[in-house]
Point group: D3
Chain length 293, copies 6
């Protein structure tokens, strides 16, 4: 159950309007690694978890916090648009190059569709979508997904920080950067704690019987490019982090199989084929069969 | 530049047709964490990298290997469909419950669109899409994304392993499981090596000036749910993995700001408002202005 | 700001597993008019509103309630999947017709991707998307959108009610049906109250100067089909609900304009044209120009 | 059956080229509430209707009219692009700020893909999609959807009206605004007539047996936010528009249920769990079982 | 301008209900090469054409015919669903294997969302989308696209023909197959006529100055796979169909260039780099600059 | 199996940065007819083919070449972005009109998401998607799709050629134009060779028994628009290219059928109906039944 409080976790007020920047901010609201993604991702992981207690609590709580981040960004975007020239002809001469540049750089749906409001889209206007979410039921995999989401998210916020001089905006981003720092540390820690508990380890899923995989290629670096430098990495020799093997390095595959012949399917799929009997059939048996059907 | 060789890295031949399983296999070909995703993700990361040498070689090479995995799965799927009853009426009585179940469980586009062939979609028939890919230019973030992709991918393959008894299919999955083991170990190792080199560390991006973030909330666990168990985790006290702080635990936010008032925008966006002057304007000044325009 | 409480607004426990029904329930979780849509739609409307007080409070509050409905459905779906045969070979013989029918009718990503968990998708596995949301800043338009969403939503729930005999599921649906009844009544009331206040009326937007539209066709029924029965409706004669006109009925358009000639564009778009000079130019002037460039 | 006439319902000729505006106009051609949406929505409703006569005729006819609106907009867009500088280097110096602003603000696919032509997309270039359409078979729900579509559509047209000074464009928009006025009035009237006929009423669907819903919450305003102003609305007390109840107001839920425990699923989904027996099994029985399989 | 007539071009009445087949038919209504695609594609080509007369008339007319095909299929689908068991519990015992198979194989949104009606989606439930459409302004390219669309479309109809024994359905398909035969012949003829007129030829666009392309590779077969059989094709030697060259055959590329070094970008994108000065800067100059900002 | 070589088929180095052009180039990398489409389309056709030898080799080889074209474009895009002002505030004063125009015209995700790198999207930022691909198993249909793809692709490249003066970019485009010339000629030749072999002919699929289609409309031009010029085309009289008939011309349909009455469905779909017995049932029998359920 969710409750809403008409406060923000941090103040979210820009110094001045900036429609172009409002569009850019949409990335961290509704983009692949924006706040809608993490809010819903953590909740879905909580709903799909198979383990009570601290991990589930963690997912429920951080998901709710992120939902509040969606709100802070939406409020900020609405304010950045509030007084901005969005292409309305009178108050801003349309062919003034400055206004033209604003219109060129803004999300025009901010004006036409939302009436100077925020939208559930990324910085290119692509609608947010459920396929951004990861929730597998395996917590080591999912915590790694979460760590990645917080890294990609903090990267976008850091880049956005340098794209404005507005103190109000930067102040909000400074807050979000700090929370992303926390959440990166937190998911990394949760992944370590999970491994330490023995509940899950590398390789994920760790309780799939290893002997059922083709162990001869489980630790081989197989090089399918012509660069040789990859052989210098610690992934090409030495012990593997899962503790079960030693890396080796090979150029190209160590196993191969002939390409199977093309499939031959029922004539009624009307695929192209050169089988003499099929060609004959076209004028003969199959055609008769088709005709009779 | 890419070259193709008409061989497979591993044999890919099923014992018998199985259209329902062919549909399921599409998940690891064209799903969010399927082989198309990792193949193109690693190549885009290589093209966007800002660092020559071993990491770029690694990305080029593994991406090319994964492209071959797309091929093995496509070939396998075509073979699983080759002799399967796909709803054609004559050779398989349509209202035979067994055939009906096959048709119910298969991807009908396998028959109608591809003529008994593989498709660039997931197991629900959703087309693969570019938004599955992550390539940020920051290698620690991207290697974490890659480790996650290999974990989610291996999880799907492991589940698929238990959904068939076909020895040919299982043998191919055993091979893919082994390569996923390798690639999980490899990206984990690459991330560690990158951190050891000092080129990138937690929190990503590590060279954003920490003092510019709101450090007072950088290591606080802020609880927005009513469960208390999350306080027991090592993310609620003790040192942080980035080496810069100590975790603390708080219930709810430690900072708040009042919700800003609603924005008031140009009347020509026709938003609803209760400002007396706006209501007046509707019958008066603004309306005049609108009328005059 | 959002807070989460580890309770549900209503009990959500099925009598028994049912993977096929779990898939169907996804429609009201992640479909066009599912709970994710209304939860986020009401919040975006609140964030984009231009009017403080009761309407904004209403949007904030109901949005938060709907977020809890997402949770109840996700929890229910996970439970319906908990013990269901999802295609794993051993505990459920794959070619048992009953199991085959389950696998045929279920969302296979429930098993392969979510490990027997809920997903942010509709009943056909299409990911939820931001383009389902409407938030225009005009409250009469948006309350009408909301009334529609609750109608379409209640319709889906009512249909789903008849697709199961499970008492636990039906009990939850009975609860949701009641809340949809409330929300239909509520948005209808809010739309009426808004109109009574004079802040917004038909036609939306009501303060666009009517004299600027082509009033001669503002109340004409123009018939573009050959059925005559539409002339019997109260939309074909009598006063209009906006209070500004009288409906009239006409067959076909009352105004027409000749189709403009095709556009003739710069030769460097390489469109096909039959202009003699263009054809000449291909071998002559334009070609020279192209060649010189 | 559809017939095409090479005339337009209204003249559609701009005074001068304007590529930036052409992009904006795409919203009402191919956006969520653009003309493709209403044209196809009304036809699908006609095809799915379960009632002959005036309502079906209405749907067939208005759908065909809207298809003609798609055409007027497409023709207008092509003309706005006809002579506009679309980034071709010679006739318009690329680094001229004016041209740069045009290119910045235009839909570049207008030039690269359509060769100065219209596209089936919205103003951000998102392709039109079938999920914009609503056609449920329940006419009160669908007429409400239609009224909303005409409101959102007229809102966008009104905003677009203020974004240009071109008389030709404004004249077309004046025509479309008038038709939207008609269609809003018409769907509102149709919804009223349907209710008056007793065929459908609030709450939709009105013949679902009310006693089967949890009537104790059918008319309760349940407040999940901390604003109190919503209690002042006529949705918080007084009779409900469906004529069956009285609104009441409550803070928070009036019913609650404990959050169910996490689901425990088959070990072969490889979800993370802390059940001792599962952990044991990992090293023991289940692992054996997995190994044996 | 479009007009609708309440007749069909061909009778569209099934012998009996068949929900599973209704789902399959959606492919040719709302799939990539379904009737919505060709209807809108031909109209968009007409709107974007740069040439008056017969080609534009052809596009307008055939587009309108195809819109009527959408209608025939929608009507047929609604009828196939009319009496079919769609999962409602009472009239069809849910766990009857036959009913279960129907539900497994049907599009569940037919029941839940459309109330036993047609939908704007393909046979896997993917919504139709504007990106299926091709309309470039170049008629030779577009007529080739149209010929392809009619080929892929007829292929799907032919496959669907064999998936039912229903005489009413087969009769409709026989009609559609005939029209597809006509339309394949027609677009092929139109493409030939266009080439004969000299207005457009191979390679498209034919008036791009050939000397501006790298002519040394304009007719070379470059083999990037290890099969040799492709050298036997008439694309590997002999005159080219554009009349300007001779095919030649080569193994691999005939030109190559070194891979450029990785790009080095502004430090504020926080990409990973190994430049010593960048690493230094992190602790030094750049960091100072970042700190100062 | 695919191998990667760290060379390019052609040099890909721009003279100078140009972020706006980088965005435009995305069209031919990740658009509907971009290089990702053709690369994967040809491979899927190879995997789905039912015929060994030269055609399959051709598909494998050209697909691999196109994958290298994706790479050349990605590398070029990264270089165009390398030194471009992407909205970072310090090195490029944000409100400088030139910089503003760049930001307005660029793909902002190039900066925010990819850190000055290429993305798997088109020039409007729409992610590439699997539904761009055609692979039907019928080679005449698919070779026609391929010819179309190369035509649409070369058209986009030719337009892009005129949108830049950069010699490095133009040189790369000159190379791609030449390869598109080759590939158009090649697929056209392959289609001709296939027809000459008798394996496939017009109409596709050519071995569907012609007598099973409604031959009376197989060669009729049926005019559904009011233009008469289409009757002048060679598609309105004379022999058909499939060699089986003669074109004829008719105004409007030559066959019609009455529109079937609306469907009447189970009351539990809650569709709107005016059947007296249904209306009665609402207050009577059906309602009782619903109540009892």
């Amino acid at each position: 159950m969710f409750f809403h409080k008409q406060e923000l976790q941090f103040k979210s007020t820009p110094d001045q309007p900036d429609a172009v920047y409002a569009r850019k901010l949409q990335e961290v609201l509704g983009g692949q690694y924006g706040e809608i993604t993490v809010a819903l991702q953590y909740e879905f992981q909580a709903w799909n978890t198979h383990i009570p207690g601290k991990y589930r609590d963690l997912l429920f709580g951080i998901g709710a916090e992120e939902m509040g981040h969606v709100e802070m960004l939406a409020v900020m975007i609405a304010q950045l648009l509030e007084k901005a020239p969005l292409g309305i002809t009178e108050d801003a001469v349309q062919n003034d190059p400055t206004v033209a540049a604003v219109v060129g750089g803004m999300d025009v749906q901010h004006a036409i569709v939302a009436g100077a409001g925020a939208r559930p889209v990324d910085s290119n206007g692509n609608p947010w979508q459920g396929s951004y979410i990861t929730a597998s039921g395996n917590l080591l995999a999912d915590f790694t997904a979460n760590a990645n989401a917080e890294m990609q998210g903090r990267l976008a916020v850091a880049r956005l920080y340098h794209m404005t001089d507005d103190h109000g905006v930067r102040d909000l981003l400074s807050f979000l950067l700090a929370r992303d720092t926390m959440h990166q540390n937190q998911w990394t820690t949760a992944a370590l704690e999970l491994q330490a508990s023995g509940m899950e380890q590398l390789p994920v899923p760790s309780n799939f019987p290893l002997k059922k995989e083709h162990r001869e290629v489980s630790y081989q670096y197989l090089n399918f490019s012509d660069g040789k430098a990859a052989s210098e990495g610690s992934w090409a020799s030495g012990p593997t982090p899962d503790g079960h093997g030693e890396f080796t390095y090979h150029d190209g595959p160590t196993t191969t199989a002939p390409m199977p012949p093309p499939t031959r399917v029922d004539a009624r799929y009307y695929g192209t084929t050169d089988l003499p009997n099929i060609v004959e059939k076209t004028a003969g048996a199959v055609q008769d069969k088709l005709n009779k059907e």
